[in-house]
Symmetry: C2
């Protein structure tokens, strides 16, 4: 169900095509809710048939630009306020960490350094965006708040990786 509300929410803020939405998922949105174009396009057609979104413009190459209807925005509001949040998350990096005991200490440290590096790059990317991006729409202002969550999470992930590296016998601070 979440994908449809993700699309409705994005189309409540700005009108966009499926192609634009796909890029959005590849960039920011996919960090918390991945989706491919093969899932997005059929869902848009469903939402359109249900009257939750409407076509506001057509462009070259069959491009269709959608925006959420009043019903669509109401559906997002209902979801946010009445439908209980699914709190549990799915994280393969953390799943893998449960099994670090099956690796040699050196292999485990390699994993933890990769983990740290990945989040460090995220963090660098987020800070870059913070520096050069000025949110304009209401949706972008909220995205800016979520971006900050990414910063907090990445910093926590890096701090944990450093702590875990000590547990796995890392004394140096290589690749920090």
């Amino acid at each position: 169900m979440s994908l449809r509300f993700a699309l409705l929410g994005l189309l409540s803020d700005q009108s966009m095509s499926g192609y634009d939405l796909t890029k959005r998922f590849e960039q920011s949105m996919g960090n918390v809710w991945p989706a491919r174009h093969s899932q997005i396009y059929p869902e848009l057609n469903k939402l359109n048939k249900e009257g939750l979104i409407e076509i506001v413009a057509e462009g070259p190459r069959g491009r269709k630009e959608y925006r959420a209807t009043e019903d669509g925005r109401a559906a997002v509001h209902h979801w946010l306020t009445e439908i209980p949040t699914e709190w549990s998350i799915r994280s393969e990096p953390m799943l893998r960490s449960f099994f670090l005991w099956m690796l040699s200490p050196e292999e485990a440290r390699t994993y933890l350094r990769d983990y740290r590096t990945w989040f460090q790059q995220r963090l660098d990317g987020y800070n870059e965006i913070k520096q050069y991006w000025t949110p304009e729409t209401e949706g972008e202002k909220a995205s800016r708040v979520v971006l900050e969550a990414g910063v907090y999470q990445a910093e926590a992930a890096i701090a944990w990786a450093n702590w875990a590296l000590e547990q796995y016998g890392d004394t140096r601070d290589s690749d920090a």
Copy 2:
């Protein structure tokens, strides 16, 4: 693919039945990779047929206790060292946060307070476990390291929620 390695990893540390594994997922493992018994039992039968796990004991009510074979442990090692990690995660709470601009400030604050409360309860639970649980097997020692990741992340989530509450006009520190 991840579920099979989660099961193989758990059964590399301790022999367990599908029922035991299901409880494991309801407790610790499900925090990072949820799974129900209806997914676990068929996967165990597949792993058994493939020779990656074997039955070590049978008990009352058709209980079957499994453990990973040498091949099974090798499969986990291969996964951890050779198969690239899927870094992106799936988090409905963060997805919802993208759309807080569609709520009234008071509704947004309610969501953020619920968010903070949920992570605070997680954190309390984690600290409780840290206090009374002494890891014994190698797998449990690694789980202890992952538990610490939960602590870091919950603390970061709470810190972010407090920051976000300020953005959404919260001055008091209610429900902290």
